[in-house]
Symmetry: C2
Subunit: 425 residues, 2 copies
Amino acid sequence: MTEAHELSAVEAARRIKAGDLTAEALMRSCLDRVVARDDAVQAWAHLDPDQAIASAKAADVAGNPGLLAGVPVGVKDIIDTADMPTRHGSTIYGLNRPNADAAIVRRTRDQGGVVMGKTVTTEFAWRNPGPTRNPHNPEHTPGGSSSGSAAGVADRQFPLAFGTQTAGSVIRPAAFCGAVGFKPSVGTYERAGVKELSSYLDTVGTFARSVGDVAFFHAALGQAPTPDLEAFGDKPPRFGLMVPFRIEAGAAALSAFEAACRQAEAGGAAVVDIPSSTGFEALADLQTVVMAGDSGRALAWEYDHHPERLIRFYRDSIATGRAISDAALLAVKSEANQGRATQAALFESVDAILTLSAPGEAPSGLAFTGDPLFNRVWTLLGWPCVTVPCGHGPNGLPLGIQIVGPVGADARTLAAAAWLERVLA
Amino acid sequence: MTEAHELSAVEAARRIKAGDLTAEALMRSCLDRVVARDDAVQAWAHLDPDQAIASAKAADVAGNPGLLAGVPVGVKDIIDTADMPTRHGSTIYGLNRPNADAAIVRRTRDQGGVVMGKTVTTEFAWRNPGPTRNPHNPEHTPGGSSSGSAAGVADRQFPLAFGTQTAGSVIRPAAFCGAVGFKPSVGTYERAGVKELSSYLDTVGTFARSVGDVAFFHAALGQAPTPDLEAFGDKPPRFGLMVPFRIEAGAAALSAFEAACRQAEAGGAAVVDIPSSTGFEALADLQTVVMAGDSGRALAWEYDHHPERLIRFYRDSIATGRAISDAALLAVKSEANQGRATQAALFESVDAILTLSAPGEAPSGLAFTGDPLFNRVWTLLGWPCVTVPCGHGPNGLPLGIQIVGPVGADARTLAAAAWLERVLA
């Protein structure tokens, strides 16, 4: 029998609405899973079981209104919660308890979602990793920066979670952990109450174990149109295959990608190659400069007041970013805006691009959360990205394939991802 | 019997002058050592044995004039040589054969030094490592960027070599390989014909197996005054013990450092603690920004014309450095100049500072040449630095101790290092 913590968010909400399951029973099942697995995975920055159960009970008492109807949600610990600490993965914020929920947390709760706890983030959603391990092998990184959200969802400790992406912090950890990750078009989910790293790049995203669940969460967060995951039912999508930085990709990732593309074609999709170019790849350089300049500004207070609490990489990067003048940074963002405008032509004859989610399996060790190179250009362009699981590598760890759509076409990109997910199943 | 390749430069030159050894015999002994050791150490970017022997024979025919009198010298492969390739560790320069010798190569040859070949450098004396291995354990890095010069001298393949330091590229590899490294005051040795990475920071330095030999090389390169290594004979030096970034140092490096300081005190040196401060350590942040801005300018041609040949770190760093405006970079250098002026007060009551050369032994693996953190501030300040061997770590690899003097006091700093070397022997 499927245990409650293994249910999809859609199915759990359905059962709760039907009276076949309570939010409390679901939460207790998730907490049992945590007890069994937390030593190995360490996904949590804050989890108070009594508080989580009390919140679930309150949802039951309220009659489980809203789309999310008592479903547990993991919240990355750079996202404000009024009733839990929000430490940003940093000792500087060891005692930080925000006054208010972030806008997306408020929306989640308005729809009956139960915030289960705060999930581990790398420090300031940047480089310095937390304790979380890959649920498939504790000797390997779960990826970052949304480490706990990716690992906890994949490990069936909760069905839905929030993350954020500035370079590759949603798509990469989702791929490494074997979850579905969704980074919508830039600006889709509100950022109020989310610790800033780059005002130009930061994008709130979500994790689940199926495209159906991230689409359900997307609708619950108030996004219109509600994704119609059958949109490509009769007429399969037209995919463009494009692998920038192919030379940096591992053999396993490339062969899994190519096998998935053949399956898509066999499933009826039109598949065309879109060559990458050095000009396109140069957008990654812009992403670096924007991230350096923006993060130097976003973390200026921490740099000035607590330099001794920042690791060298942060100090070096912040100092360098601050040396980029406002005018120079604005010029680079203008160039990036130009890229956003001109590169949209890629979608003239395809519905979505298929590309790698990461260079390969999760690397071994916890010191490095892996290279976001295969995410940086898409993040700079602000395009919606979905990763779905796509086989395993030589170490038995999951691989992902990334579906990228044009800006604003989030529902349609989710539909293309759902189509591919069905074909690969 | 001591083989010729094991002789110090001073002793080799003395024997050649006395007619007890020929430059050719010395070179043949060094080449025999290379044959025995090159598979393990891989210190060479270019070595043509026939050419090396011909150069040595020519020195013998000329009567071995000059102070260097036929002594072999290894030259880092970012330093121009008219008769050998100069590849800067980069495929972009795979066919590069400069038209003229660098100024320091010309001086070396004018003094009878025989350029044996070109030693491996990290790409552009920056991050991307070459094939060289630590002569004490081929599974460990020799450090960088002057990898081949440090490893080859320590391995007794040649008695003298040139390197360059922008962050920690002389002192760190010398310490890792168990050699003596000398980074003189900024601007001491000419940089004409040396590939630029940072106009503000780049400093040509040298490697040998004793302080006596780097002092001898210093004099041969035309520096006045000639170091008097007995300057502290009667009155031992006053040392200030100062360990910025102590929290980043390994236990083995710290205990070897403390033991050496006790030996210095037992030997009659006055020893005082000089506390570091966050303000002093913040000079490392300036070094980062200067290096980012300067390298973005120094490598702009390579970035614009061969972006596909640069690893991501280089592309990212160059793009970021170029986003720092000329005015902003100048302002940071002004701040660094201010540091150079005000920090000189540290030497009011001491002759030299004793500090760590590196955080510990050479790390395992060849992908990372180690952290230059313990060198960056001294390089920014432009002060002369010498590292001498100082015991071994838990893996049996060498450790070094660094002697730092005030700018311009190169001869006196070498004398203090020679005094310490005698005490530690």
